[in-house]
């Protein structure tokens, strides 16, 4: 809805669009309990919001003649799109959401503001909800949004689906934001679980939207959706065991969402259409290995290691290297995994990362070196901040008293 209004008003009137949408919703809240929900609620809301916006612009026009053209242009565009909206309630709104995403994820907007702006404008999240999701103060999020809206106005960031030439870069930026949104929700190490599930659901919804539009349904988009679905399918089984290192091993696989997994595998197939192999493809491939294994022992760890090899080529980050080492330890034994980890010992990022030390602890225990295990678990505990992770490590330490 906000997306439709923004299309009508232009991105520099995003603040006005937000206000009139909010007002239309409040009007609905006051009227619908008595009058019932209208035949086409979306068209009703857009009509009310549009009327408000026209009133505002007319009023402003008295003070600022430069607004005259905007108001006139807006009124003619509004008339056209509204008839379209009532003729086909579904499509135009989705197209508008797409435009909104491309606007919110524009490369001119600072990276850290893109997720918040997307959640606010496309997802309809309140400032309070965004703040809860990112464990930030409401005022900080509100300020960030004010700054970024000023930027939208000043730079006149376009509200449209980019042309073919710019599409790859612009789509990458949108996919990155959706990937981060998903991870923020999925990495359940902190924060309120309810809001975080909303993030996961919204990231999936928006990525799915991209797979349904001919301009954006490329292999990478399908790969990202596959990755999200295959991961999210395991959410249910994961909760309650947060922070467990080899938590997959102990998951009740009957709790995995089979239809979500099937959907994810379908999109993984669709992602294989071109030659392109992105990081999303590889991560989705890894998730698919886990999701299609009947049990932990049946997991194809060799396949996972080779996917991590390819991922490490694309993204040579210490975290990927750590995950690869874990996969190696499953495929070729704990001693082999420890050798891989030894090569990473001097990495400053991993030195501060509790999971690195916890992995060392786990593998040391597996080869029977309890003293080393206790030492590494102790180091991990000193670094872990989230409560579930601390409880997990304390249990591990209690099981491995130093000798």
């Amino acid at each position: 809805m906000l997306a439709t209004l923004t299309r009508l008003l232009g991105s520099r009137h995003l603040a006005l669009a937000e206000e009139v949408v909010q007002e239309a919703l409040v009007t609905a809240l006051q009227q619908w309990p008595y009058q019932g929900i209208p035949q086409n609620p979306s068209a009703w809301l857009i009509q009310v919001a549009k009327n408000r916006a026209v009133d505002r612009l007319r009023r402003d026009r008295a003070f600022d003649s430069r607004e005259r053209d905007v108001a006139a242009a807006f009124e003619s565009r509004a008339a056209g799109s509204l008839s379209a909206a009532s003729a086909d309630a579904g499509r135009p709104f989705e197209d508008d959401e797409l435009c909104m995403m491309f606007m919110a994820c524009h490369p001119d907007i600072p990276r850290e503001a893109r997720i918040a702006l997307t959640l606010k404008t496309v997802g309809g999240f309140s400032v309070a909800e965004i703040a809860r999701a990112f464990l930030a103060h409401e005022s900080a999020i509100a300020q960030r949004l004010v700054r970024v809206k000023k930027l939208l106005r000043e730079r006149e960031i376009p509200f449209d689906v980019p042309g073919e030439r710019e599409m790859p870069e612009r789509l990458d930026s949108v996919l990155e934001v959706l990937y981060l949104m998903f991870n923020e929700g999925y990495a359940a190490h902190t924060g309120e679980s309810l809001v975080r599930q909303d993030l996961v659901a919204e990231a999936i919804r928006l990525t799915r939207l991209l797979t349904r539009h001919s301009a954006t349904d490329g292999p990478k988009t399908h790969a990202l959706l596959a990755l999200m679905l295959l991961q999210a399918a395991r959410t249910q089984a994961r909760s309650g065991a947060d922070g467990d290192l080899f938590v997959l091993e102990h998951q009740d696989r009957s709790q995995w969402d089979r239809s979500m997994i099937a959907d994810g595998l379908r999109h993984l197939d669709a992602s294989a259409r071109g030659q392109e192999v992105s990081a999303y493809h590889l991560q989705a491939g890894i998730a698919a290995c886990h999701a299609s294994a009947a049990d932990y022992a049946a997991t194809d760890w060799n396949e996972i290691v080779s996917l991590y090899d390819a991922l490490l080529d694309l993204e040579p980050t210490p975290i990927v290297a750590l995950n690869r080492a874990i996969a190696v330890s499953r495929a070729r034994g704990a001693a082999e995994g420890l050798r891989e980890l030894a090569a990473l010992r001097d990495d400053p990022t991993l030195a501060r990362y509790y999971l690195f030390h916890a992995t060392l602890g786990e593998l040391s225990r597996e080869i029977g070196d309890e003293a080393a295990a206790a030492r590494h678990y102790g180091a991990a505990l000193a670094l872990a901040s989230a409560e579930p992770a601390r409880r997990f490590l304390e249990r591990k330490l209690a099981a491995a008293p130093p000798r």
Binding site: L25, L29, Q31, W32, P33, Y34, F125, A128, E129
Partner: protein, 116 residues
């Protein structure tokens, strides 16, 4: 079947900064409540009253006095009303008792005197 008027009074304000989902949730509760009443075979209609203006006639000459707002008793204005069929007061009260409006204000029940 006698008809009862449910006068819904509220202080005119929902919590600020509600998300669209929260608003939708509230609307849905009203819709469910009406469906429940209707599915029990009781006809129900609703009217939202305009917020901004109202007129009060007072005194022998009945000269109208226009005030800025609706006429509040203890800061509660009538936001709207329902007319619902019910056998008697106790049924009307039972139907009104799970109306979601009670989370936001009060409901006054009055029986409509039948004509003739």
């Amino acid at each position: 079947m006698p008809q009862y008027m449910l006068l819904l009074r509220d202080s005119g304000s929902f919590p600020p900064d509600m998300s669209p989902e929260e608003m939708q949730g509230i609307i849905q509760r009203y819709v469910s409540w009406r469906n429940k009443v209707a599915s029990g075979g009781r006809k129900i209609t609703g009217h939202k009253l305009k917020d901004r203006e109202g007129r009060l006639l007072r005194g022998k000459v009945g000269a109208p006095v226009t005030k800025d707002g609706p006429f509040a008793e203890a800061n509660e204005v009538i936001g709207g009303l329902y007319v619902v069929d019910a056998r008697d007061y106790s049924e009307a009260q039972r139907l009104a008792s799970d109306c979601p409006h009670l989370d936001f204000g009060t409901i006054e029940i009055r029986e409509i005197e039948p004509v003739g």
